[in-house]
């Protein structure tokens, strides 16, 4: 009985492999185009507020995808990727404040570079750390870095607790006068998400991605087979910081504000919840998780208001749910949503055959 299961799986994998493009790059390109098309269709068929939510989902998913590469793939846990989002957000806010004419793409690229540089620094310091030590350092980072904005020596530059206002860049005139700003924001963040996922998907299937997985499974074995442990770990950290930076840059741009209040510990926590719930290590899972984590506060607010609950109750429902979900998924459903979908898919295949 037990021997037949892997056999069936092999058959399925062969069968499904036969139907898909040989080239990984081509396959990822097809997924990217499909994903972009789906996002486009969604964005034009929903309301302005929902477009704003879509933009929120997209920038959260960008940061979550980076985190899932770090935690799920290379096995390093970070409780502080919200801090890198803050770096990206402040970089964007400062750049746009002083150079209003710069194109958004350039600003985003520089912001990503800045957060990647900070990630490289932290990653180099953290490369010697494992498990709970690394988690503690990143926790300290999440709590410590945003307070820099409030430091009296930098208050003039960083705007203290009020943060820096980012002038919203309007959609290009060629789209028409009445084109909603929110939809434009959803398009830009959606495009960034598709590009990020495309790049990460290629990274995951590349040699570097394989090295990372090996590192997660067994560090000594990885080192013995020629993987450069420290370099690969720092690389994973830098990639995740770059993604968080892009997410943060878009967060500042979409919300027209970069302020310390936007980067509480809860932000890092919601990223962690998103990837654990979606399925640790899976890019698709990071997207599902981000959708749920982003919409959860809205849902719980609607629900609570219809039930006439006081604000203190519904404002805290997401926190309670994050806690419960983290526990349940880790203990009972380690694969998360993506794991469940994969199992469902396999079960369907077996029944069809």
């Amino acid at each position: 009985m037990t021997a037949t299961i892997p056999k069936t799986r092999q058959l399925i994998d062969k069968a499904s492999l036969a139907n898909r493009p040989r080239s990984t790059l081509l396959r990822h390109l097809i997924w990217a185009v499909l994903g972009g098309a789906v996002l486009y269709v969604i964005s034009i068929s929903i309301s302005q507020f929902q477009d704003f939510e879509l933009a929120q989902i997209c920038y959260t998913a960008i940061a979550a995808a980076g985190l899932t590469v770090l935690s799920g793939l290379s096995g390093q846990i970070s409780l502080g990727n919200g801090a890198f989002m803050a770096v990206g957000a402040y970089a964007t806010a400062l750049l746009l404040e002083h150079n209003e004419q710069w194109p958004l793409a350039l600003v985003l690229v520089i912001s990503v570079a800045v957060s990647a540089a900070v990630g490289l620094l932290v990653g180099a310091a953290a490369a010697r750390l494992r498990g709970p030590y690394l988690a503690g350092v990143t926790l300290a980072l999440a709590l410590g870095l945003p307070t820099l904005a409030d430091y009296h020596g930098l208050q003039n530059q960083l705007g203290g607790n009020n943060g820096i206002t980012v002038a919203p860049s309007p959609p290009p005139l060629s789209l028409g006068d009445t084109f909603p700003l929110e939809r434009w924001q959803a398009w830009i963040t959606g495009l960034c998400l598709v590009i990020t996922l495309f790049l990460l998907a290629n990274l995951v299937t590349s040699r570097v991605g394989r090295d990372m997985r090996l590192l997660r499974e067994d560090e000594d074995a990885a080192a013995l087979s020629g993987v450069r442990v420290a370099r690969t770990q720092v690389l994973a950290f830098t990639v995740s910081a770059a993604c968080a930076g892009l997410g943060g840059a878009l967060l500042a741009w979409v919300n027209s504000l970069a302020a310390p209040g936007a980067f509480p510990l809860t932000l890092s926590l919601s990223l962690l919840t998103a990837i654990v719930l979606g399925g640790l290590g899976s890019l698709a899972g990071a997207v599902y998780g981000s959708v749920i984590v982003t919409l959860l506060p809205t849902w719980s607010t609607d629900l609570a208001q219809s039930a006439n609950l006081p604000r203190t109750i519904y404002a805290n429902i997401p926190l309670v749910l994050y806690g419960v979900v983290l526990f349940l998924v880790v203990v009972l459903f380690p694969g998360g949503i993506q794991g469940g979908l994969v199992r469902l898919w396999r079960a369907l295949h077996i029944t069809i055959r």
């Binding site: 409780l79 310091a125 709970p132 300290a140 409030d150 919840t273 640790l280 309670v320 994050y322 880790v330």
Partner: protein, 293 residues
């Protein structure tokens, strides 16, 4: 010079509290090889209970007792229900579960008590001791009390671990669970006791620091990070190291806040943590053991 002395003294009593939290983290680390990121949330809940007692007219001492007993119970319950399933699993699981518990507790406290910070009374006076010429030190009777209590707790714990049968069983359960089990030690129960003790120490720390931080659902986030930093300075598995780490961290952070600005104390802790881990990854008191993780 007076400012330097004042900052150092102020750091001393804050450091004593960090030492207590570090002790709680170290107890749990030694017992189950888990860093309890929920510590901040657990002591927040017990401090809120103490706050309820005080605001209902109960005495400081009654509130302290309530907090400690609640800590014992909470620690045991958390270990049995939530931590048992992730013991001896990959480190990631325990980190995620304890971090999840932290927000779960914060969410629950937010629902019950709301987000407004509440003030908490100190045990003794907070006006500094007088020195010559009408000047006062930044060291008050309450600071002395905090400092002495933490010292006393450390001594009690040392006695429990070194001189009692319970302590011996707990150490053996942590050190060699299989052998201990063969010799009749109920290893699981020892873990529960370890968590309960740690949570009680944490609860005590919460009540001690509450007059400074006020009480709100996330008032103790930084305190948790400071406690973790202190524990890491001490090597994460050495109780005396945790106390030395806590007090030295308190003093350093006192200087940071006095000379550089109180806004960046959190950042100061981060810098200290990274420096310590880069220079001595095993902490000042840690054993130079192979990597465990």
């Amino acid at each position: 010079m007076v400012q330097f002395i004042n900052l150092t003294l102020g750091g001393l009593s804050a450091g004593a509290v960090y030492a207590a939290i570090a002790l709680a983290l170290v107890l749990i680390w030694r017992a189950t090889r888990i860093v309890n990121f929920a510590q901040g949330g657990m002591l927040m809940i017990t401090t809120f209970l103490a706050f309820t007692v005080v605001s209902d007219g109960g005495s400081y001492w009654l509130a302290l007792a309530v907090a400690i007993v609640a800590g014992l119970v909470l620690g045991a319950v958390v270990e049995r229900l939530l931590i048992r399933p992730v013991e001896n699993k990959p480190q990631l699981n325990a980190v995620v579960v304890t971090f999840g518990l932290l927000v779960l507790l914060q969410g629950i406290a937010g629902m019950i008590f709301g987000g407004t910070p509440r003030s908490y009374p100190p045990a003794f006076g907070i006006q500094g001791f007088q020195i010559g010429g009408g000047r006062r030190l930044l060291f008050a009777p309450n600071d002395l009390w905090v400092f002495l209590v933490v010292l006393a707790v450390m001594v009690v714990l040392a006695v429990v671990f070194r001189r009692t049968s319970l302590g011996l069983r707990m150490r053996s359960a942590a050190f060699a669970p299989e052998v201990a089990r063969l010799l009749g030690v109920r290893v699981g129960r020892m873990f529960t006791v370890g968590w309960a003790l740690a949570a009680a120490v944490g609860a005590l720390a919460g009540v001690l620091i509450a007059p400074d931080t006020f009480v709100s659902p996330n008032a103790f986030d930084s305190t948790l990070v400071f406690g973790f930093t202190a524990a890491v300075i001490g090597g994460l598995d050495s109780p005396p190291g945790a106390v030395v780490g806590g007090i030295s961290l308190g003093i350093v952070l006192g200087w940071v806040s006095g000379y550089l600005g109180s806004d960046i104390v959190n950042l100061g802790a981060l810098v200290v943590l990274v420096l310590v881990l880069m220079i001595r990854p095993n902490g000042l008191f840690g054993h130079a053991a192979g990597r465990r993780v």
